[in-house]
Amino acid sequence: MLRKIKNIFRNSSDKATEKTDTRKKVENLKQFKLTKNMNDNITQLLRFMGNSFDIKTRRLKIRTLNIEAAVVYIENLVDINIVLEYIIKPLTIESASGPDKTALADPFDIIKDSMLSAGAMEVAESYDDIVFAVMLGDTFLCIDGYSKGIVISTKGYTGRSVSDPNIEPSVKGPKEGFVEILGDNLCLIRRKIRDPNLTFEKHIIGRRTKGLVVIAYIRGITKPEFVSEVRNRIQAIDIDDHVDEAKIAHFIVEHPKSIFPQVKTSERPDKVTSALLEGQVAIIIEGLPTVIITPVTLPSLLQSADDYHENAYIASLIRLTRYFNLIVSALFPATYVAITSFHPGVLPTNLALSIASARAGVPFPAIMEAIAMEITLEILEEAGKRLPKVVGQTVSIVGGLVIGQAAIQAGIVSPIMVIVISFTAIASFTIPDYSLNLASRILRIPFMLLATVLGAYGIAIGCLYVLGYLCSLKNMGISYLEPITPYQVRDWKDSFIRTSYGTTEMRPDFLSPEDTINQRMGKIKKIKKEMEDNGQ
C-alpha cells in the first residue's frame, strides 16, 4: 500500500522511455571524426549543432599556402575582437602577401605555430571535442585537406561585473562578491591566495549542459582524503539538467535529506579563501555566484565575515549572541505557548496579569494565534523576496500597519504575540547562513505543536531529539557539532568566541590539516622584546 503511494510521487520518466534516440545521437558524437573535405566537415558540424542561426561560418583563403580554411564560431559567445584581429586577420590579410612557404613545412603546422596570433589552441579530431569547444565559446578552424582542426580559445562572455554581495554584506570587509562567469571567480580567488599550491581541478557535469565545475584546494594543507572523496562524488553525478549548488550538495553530503545544511555556501571571496586556508575544499560552479565549501560544522556556519574585523572581545560577544539567536528563532513562539498555556506560574505576577489582560478579548487560543502569526510572517518574507523595488515601500507599510496595529485593535491577535513573532523573525535574520535560517524556521512549527500538546516537557523532548540527531550527523568523518563535542578547547578559539590574533597560531584541529601552523609569532616576539629593551 505504501509502495503505491510512493509510486505516485515517482517521476514518470523513471519508467522505461522510448525517447532514447536523440540521446544516443548526442552521446555518440565520439565516434564521428573529421574528414579531409572541409565542406563536408562544416556541413556535418552545423548539422550536429542544429543549424542555429547564431553559428557563423567564415570561409578564408590563405594565399601564401594556397589553402582554403573556414572559421566556425558562435557569435554571442566569443570575444569578436580576438576572432577578427588575431585569427581572421592574420590568416587573410597578413598572409596575402609574402613568399610561398609551402615548401618549408607542413602547412598545418605553419598555420598553427606561426600564423595565428591568438592564445591557447588545441588540435581536435573528433566532433565530440569540437562541438563542445564551440559551445563553450571557442573558435574552430577547419583546414581543407586535413582531417584535424584547430580549436582556439576565444571566450568572451557578457555577464554581470563584480559588485556587492547581496545576501552577505559586510561592514568593514571587502565588498566584492562572486559573479556568474567562472573566469572572474577564479580570478578573485587567485588574487587572494598567491600560493602556487592552490590547485584548481576542472570537471564537466551534465549531459546536455556540460557545465563546468571546479574543485579548489591547497595542496599541503587540505587532507587528501577529503579531496579524493569530493572528486569521486562529483564525478559520479550523471544528470541532464544544469548543475547548481543544491544538486552538488545533495550528492556530496552523507545525509542529503536532512534539513540542516551540511555544506556552506558563500558569495564572498574572502570567506572562501579563509576556508581554503583552513583546510577545506571549495567547489566553484560556472553560472552561479555561490561557492560551496565542505566539510562544514554547525559552529562554522554561525561565523560571519564581520567577526574578523573587530576586536576579539566584541566579536566573541556578538558570536555568542548568534548562538542564542539560533535557539530563540526556533524555540521562542513555542516557549511562549508553553509558558502561557501550561505554566503561567513561571512568570512574575504582574507580567502574568498583563498578559492575561492583553489576551482577554482575543477569541482564539494561544496556539492558533501563534500559528496564524507564523503563517503571516512566512507570507511577508516570501513577498519581500519577490517585490519589485517600486512597490517595496507600500508593502512594508501595509504589512506593518495591517498586521500589527489593526489586527491588535480588532482584537484578533494579542499584542504580546506580535512582539514574540517579530522578535523571532529578527533573531532569525542574524544567522549568517541562509539555509540554517530556513532550517530554524522550519523547526518552529513542530516545536509549537509539541508545546501545545505537552507544554515545556514537549519542548524538552523535542530539543533532546534534535540534539541527538545533530550529534549523529557526520560528514567525511567530521561530526556536525565538532568543536563543541567532541570537546577540543583549542578549537573553541574560533567557534564560540573569537580570540585575538595573537593566539591563533594553529589551524583548527577538526579538519586534520597536514600543515598545522597558521601563524608564527617569532618575529613579533622579537620586535616586542626589542621595543621593550629600547624603551627602557
Binding site: V346, L454, L464, Y465, I484, Y487
Partner: protein, 372 residues
C-alpha cells in the same frame, strides 16, 4: 573514521550526567529518615565508598582490556556460571530503568503536566531515548557533553541562591549520639551513585584507557560533591522533621528561593526542565548497558541490537500497572537498591580478585612459554 572513539572529557561529562541525575530529588528524604540532621555526613561517607568502588571497577576493566562488563563476567567465570551471574546484573538494571522512569513520570506529572496520562509521558521519553541509543554510544556521549554543564550550573545556582535562607542552627548539634545512624545512612547514599559502573561498558572505546582514570574520577567526584552540598544546604534551610515530610526536598528547596532580581518566579519548574535532559542521559546509558548485556548473554549479532531496543517499550509500560502510587515506588527503589548494592559492592570486588589471580596465572604461563 568508523570506529567509535570516546574522548576522556566525554567520559567525564557522561559520568556527571549518569550519576548526578537519577535520585537527586529524593535522596535527602531517605537519608534524613535514618540519620536526622547529620544526613550530609552520611552523604559524604557514601561518596567516599563510591570512590573506592569506582577505583575497583576501573581496575577490573584495565585487567581485561578491550572487554566490557558482560564479557568480563563470561571470561572469568566460564560460560555457564558467568551467564548465571549476568542475569542478576540484567535484572537489576532493567528494574532500575523501570523504576527510574516511573519516578521521572511522577515528578513530571505532579509539577509540570497534571492531566496528561502517565503512559504518554513515559512512552515519549523512551521512544526518544531509543532513537538516540540506536545510533550508537557516541551520540549519547556527545549529548552529555552539551547537557552536563547546564545541569551543573543550575544545581550550583540553586545551592548558592538558597544560601540566603540558611540557618546554622538547623544542623546543630553535630554528631550528637548519632554516629551509628550516620554509618547506616551511608549505604543508601552509596546506592544512589550506582550509575558509576557504566565505565566498564565504555572504557574499551577510549584511545588510552590508562589516562582516562583522572577524568573518570573527576567525573564521579563532581556529582558527589554537588549531592553533598545539596544535602548540606537542604539541612541548613529546613530542619530534619520538616525534611522527613517532604517528598521531593530539592524541589522544595527551589520553591523557597526568592530572589528579587530573577526573571522567573518558580525556579523549581526550571529545575525540572533542566533535569529532564540529565535523566535522559542517565536512562540512555542504562539502556545501552542493558542491551549490551543481553546481546552478550544471548550471543546475538550486531544488527539485532536495534530491534531489541524497540522491544524495551513493552515492559516499561507494563511496570506502570505494577507500581501504583508514589509511596510504593519509594519502597521498590529501596529494594532494588539493596539488590544493586550487593551486586556492585560485594560481587565486583570478588570478580576483581578472581581476574587478578587469572592474570597472574597467565603471565606465569607466558613466562614459562617464553623461557624454554
Amino acid at each position: 573514521m568508523n570506529r567509535t572513539t570516546i574522548s576522556n572529557f566525554q567520559i567525564m561529562t557522561l559520568a556527571v550526567g549518569t550519576v548526578a541525575s537519577a535520585k537527586i530529588f529524593m535522596v535527602q528524604q531517605q537519608l534524613v529518615l535514618i540519620s536526622k540532621q547529620d544526613a550530609w555526613i552520611s552523604m559524604l561517607l557514601g561518596s567516599i565508598l563510591t570512590q573506592l568502588s569506582a577505583m575497583n571497577i576501573y581496575y577490573l576493566s584495565i585487567l581485561n582490556p578491550g572487554k566490557d562488563l558482560p564479557q568480563i563476567y563470561l571470561q572469568n567465570f566460564g560460560k555457564v556460571l558467568g551467564r548465571f551471574l549476568l542475569i542478576g546484573g540484567i535484572i537489576y538494571i532493567f528494574t532500575y530503568i523501570c523504576v527510574i522512569t516511573k519516578v521521572f513520570t511522577e515528578v513530571v506529572k505532579t509539577f509540570l503536566l497534571t492531566e496528561t496520562p502517565a503512559t504518554f509521558i513515559s512512552v515519549l521519553l523512551i521512544l526518544t531515548i531509543i532513537t538516540v541509543v540506536r545510533k550508537g554510544v557516541e551520540s549519547i556521549t556527545k549529548m552529555s557533553n552539551i547537557i552536563a554543564p547546564f545541569f551543573l550550573i543550575t544545581l550550583f545556582l540553586i545551592i548558592i541562591l538558597s544560601a540566603k535562607e540558611a540557618n546554622i542552627a538547623n544542623i546543630k548539634p553535630i554528631l550528637y549520639k548519632n554516629t551509628l545512624n550516620v554509618l547506616k545512612g551511608a549505604i543508601p547514599a552509596y546506592a544512589s551513585f550506582l550509575g558509576h559502573t557504566f565505565i566498564s561498558f565504555l572504557l574499551l572505546y577510549t584511545p588510552e584507557p590508562k589516562k582516562t582514570f583522572k577524568w573518570y574520577m573527576i567525573g564521579i567526584a563532581i556529582p558527589m560533591f554537588i549531592y553533598t552540598l545539596l544535602t548540606f544546604m537542604t539541612m541548613l534551610v529546613f530542619d530534619p522533621t520538616e525534611v522527613e515530610t517532604m517528598m521531593y526536598p530539592t524541589l522544595s528547596l527551589s520553591k523557597s528561593i526568592e530572589f528579587p532580581i530573577t526573571l522567573l518566579e518558580r525556579l523549581e519548574i526550571l529545575m525540572i526542565i533542566i533535569w529532564i535532559p540529565a535523566m535522559f542521559i542517565a536512562i540512555s546509558t542504562y539502556l545501552y548497558a542493558n542491551i549490551r548485556s543481553i546481546v552478550v548473554f544471548f550471543n546475538l549479532k550486531e544488527k539485532h541490537h536495534t530491534y531489541l531496543a524497540y522491544l524495551y517499550l513493552i515492559p516499561i509500560v507494563l511496570t506502570f500497572y505494577v507500581t501504583q502510587d508514589s509511596i510504593q515506588t519509594i519502597d521498590y527503589i529501596n529494594t532494588i537498591e539493596i539488590f544493586g548494592t550487593i551486586q556492585v559492592g560485594v560481587m565486583l570486588p570478588i570478580i576483581t580478585l578472581i581476574s587478578l589471580i587469572r592474570n597472574k596465572k597467565e603471565k606465569k604461563k607466558q613466562k614459562q612459554n617464553i623461557s624454554p
